[in-house]
C-alpha cells in the first residue's frame, strides 16, 4: 500500500496515524508540496486530478479523500475502528466524517493562510473554525455527561481520527484551544492510544515515559 505523503499535511497524518493504530504498514512516498508544488505535477494529477495530498494506492484502488482512506485501513485490519456496531453509531461516524471536512476547510484554511501564506480571508476562516470547535466541544461535553470519551462509540473510531489533527493544530491558524475543556480531554485520550504517532505540531504525551536519567547525555538547551 502506497501513501503519497507530506509531513506537514494534517490529512496525510490522519492516514499515517490510522495505519499506526491499526498496525498497517504503509509505503510512504514523500511529495515535495512546499516549495516544489509536486502535488500539482502531471504524474500526480494523473492519480488525483484534484491535485491534493494524500493519495492512497492499493493495487487498482486509488483513494484521494482521507476519510475514505481511514475507512479502508480500518475495514482491512481493525474493523472495530469503524464504530458501526449499531445504526446510531454508524450514522454518528458518518456525521463526524462529514464534519471533519468543515474542519479542513475552516481551521485548515486558517492554518494554510496563517502558516503557509496561502490566499484566504483569515478572520472569516477563524470565526468559522471557532464555531466548529464550539460544536465539537458541546458534543464532547454531552458525551462526557453520558460517561463517554470518544465521539461516536464507546471506543475510538475513524471519526475521532478524522477530526483530531485539524483540531489539535488549530493554534497554527491563530485559533486558541484554551476555551475547550472537553476537547482538551478528548485530544489527550487520543494521544494516549497505544501506537499513537506524532506530526510536527502534535507531540506525544511526554509524561507517559519515565523521566530521563541524569546519567544520560543531556539534550542541548
Amino acid at each position: 500500500m502506497i501513501l503519497y505523503d507530506y509531513i506537514l499535511s494534517p490529512d496525510a497524518y490522519k492516514v499515517r496515524l490510522m495505519a499506526a493504530l491499526a498496525g498497517v504498514k504503509l509505503n510512504l512516498r514523500a511529495v515535495d508540496v512546499h516549495p516544489g508544488r509536486e502535488h500539482e505535477s502531471e504524474p500526480l494529477r494523473a492519480l488525483n486530478p484534484a491535485g491534493s495530498i494524500p493519495i492512497l494506492l492499493d493495487g487498482d484502488l486509488i483513494l484521494t479523500e482521507s476519510a475514505a482512506m481511514l475507512v479502508y485501513l480500518a475495514r482491512l485490519e481493525a474493523p472495530t475502528w469503524l464504530g458501526d456496531d449499531n445504526a446510531a453509531n454508524a450514522a454518528r461516524v458518518q456525521q463526524w466524517l462529514a464534519f471533519s471536512r468543515r474542519l479542513t476547510d475552516h481551521l485548515g484554511g486558517a492554518r494554510a493562510t496563517e502558516m503557509l501564506s496561502e490566499p484566504g480571508d483569515l478572520p472569516a476562516l477563524q470565526r468559522a473554525g471557532t464555531l466548529d470547535l464550539r460544536e465539537l466541544e458541546a458534543a464532547l461535553t454531552e458525551r462526557r455527561i453520558l460517561g463517554q470519551t470518544f465521539l461516536a462509540s464507546d471506543r475510538p473510531t475513524v471519526a475521532d481520527i478524522a477530526c483530531f489533527p485539524y483540531v489539535a493544530l488549530a493554534p497554527d491558524g491563530g485559533v486558541s484551544l484554551d476555551p475547550y475543556p472537553s476537547i482538551r480531554l478528548w485530544t489527550r485520550a487520543i494521544r494516549m492510544l497505544p501506537g499513537f504517532i506524532e506530526m510536527p505540531g502534535i507531540h506525544r504525551l511526554h509524561e507517559l515515559k519515565p523521566e530521563p536519567l541524569s546519567t544520560e547525555t543531556p539534550e542541548t538547551v
Binding site: 464550539r134 458541546a138 461535553t141 454531552e142 462526557r144 455527561i145 453520558l146 484554551d178 476555551p179 475543556p181 472537553s182 482538551r184 480531554l185 489527550r188 507531540h203 504525551l205 511526554h206 509524561e207 523521566e211 530521563p212 541524569s214 546519567t215 544520560e216 543531556p218 539534550e219 542541548t220 538547551v221
Partner: protein, 209 residues
C-alpha cells in the same frame, strides 16, 4: 475587575476538567495561569510563563509531582521553584528561577484561585453540581455586571459563576441542580449554548432572576 478581587476567590475551572497529572490554562481577570494537578492529586496555580524562555507552562506536562515546560523540560514544584534542568542534570537550579504561585483550592467540584490566600474558604454552592465551563465572546459587565447569575436552563435550576477575563471574553462556570439527571444535564448543556448565543447576539441581557 475591581481591586478587591485580589483578595477574593475566583472560580477558574471545574475539578472534572483537570484529572490527575494534567495541566490546563486558567483564564482569570488578571491573566492566564497554568493550573495543574500532580499525579497524587495536589492542585497548584503558577504564572503561565516559564522563567527560562517565556514558553507557556500550560503547554507543558505533569510528571509525578512536578510541572515540566514543553520547550526544554525545566520542571517546577508546587511552590513554583525550578527543580530540575534536564540539560544540566547535576546543577541545583538557583532559587531565583521561580514561577509565581497563587492560592488554589477546590470545593464542590469547582477550582478557585486567589492572588493572596483569603481568610475564608471558597463558597460551597450547596445544592448545585458542576456542569461545564463555557467561554462567551461578550463583556462580563454587559452580561451580568460581573455577578453570578441564577437562571433556569431547560427548566433546570442553574447558577452561572461569571468571570470576565479581559477584553470582550467571559468564562461562565455552569452549575446545575445537584439532583439533575444525565438527560437533564444534557438538556441544560444545550440550553447553555443558546444562552451564549443570546449573550453574544444582544451584547447585554438581564438574565438574573
Amino acid at each position: 475587575m475591581p481591586v478587591e478581587m485580589h483578595r477574593d476567590w475566583i472560580p477558574v475551572a471545574l475539578s472534572a476538567d483537570l484529572p490527575a497529572a494534567t495541566v490546563v490554562p486558567a483564564h482569570t481577570p488578571s491573566g492566564i495561569l497554568a493550573l495543574w494537578r500532580s499525579a497524587s492529586g495536589k492542585l497548584t496555580a503558577l504564572a503561565d510563563r516559564c522563567p527560562h524562555r517565556g514558553m507557556r507552562l500550560s503547554y507543558g506536562f505533569v510528571r509525578g509531582e512536578a510541572l515540566s515546560c514543553i520547550y526544554h523540560g525545566w520542571s517546577y514544584g508546587r511552590n513554583g521553584q525550578c527543580q530540575r534542568i534536564p540539560a544540566h542534570p547535576d546543577l541545583a537550579p538557583p532559587a531565583a528561577i521561580k514561577a509565581a504561585n497563587y492560592a488554589a483550592e477546590e470545593r464542590n467540584g469547582v477550582i478557585w484561585i486567589a492572588q493572596e490566600e483569603p481568610e475564608t474558604p471558597p463558597p460551597a454552592l450547596e445544592g448545585f453540581k458542576p456542569l461545564r465551563s463555557i467561554t462567551v465572546g461578550a463583556d462580563a459587565e454587559l452580561i451580568a455586571g460581573s455577578r453570578d447569575v441564577r437562571m433556569r436552563l431547560a427548566g433546570i435550576d442553574a447558577l452561572l459563576l461569571i468571570v470576565g477575563t479581559g477584553g470582550s471574553e467571559t468564562v461562565a462556570h455552569v452549575m446545575v441542580d445537584a439532583a439533575a439527571s444525565e438527560v437533564e444535564c444534557v438538556a441544560a448543556s444545550r440550553a447553555a449554548e443558546g444562552w451564549r448565543r443570546d449573550c453574544e447576539r444582544l451584547g447585554r441581557k438581564d438574565l438574573a432572576s
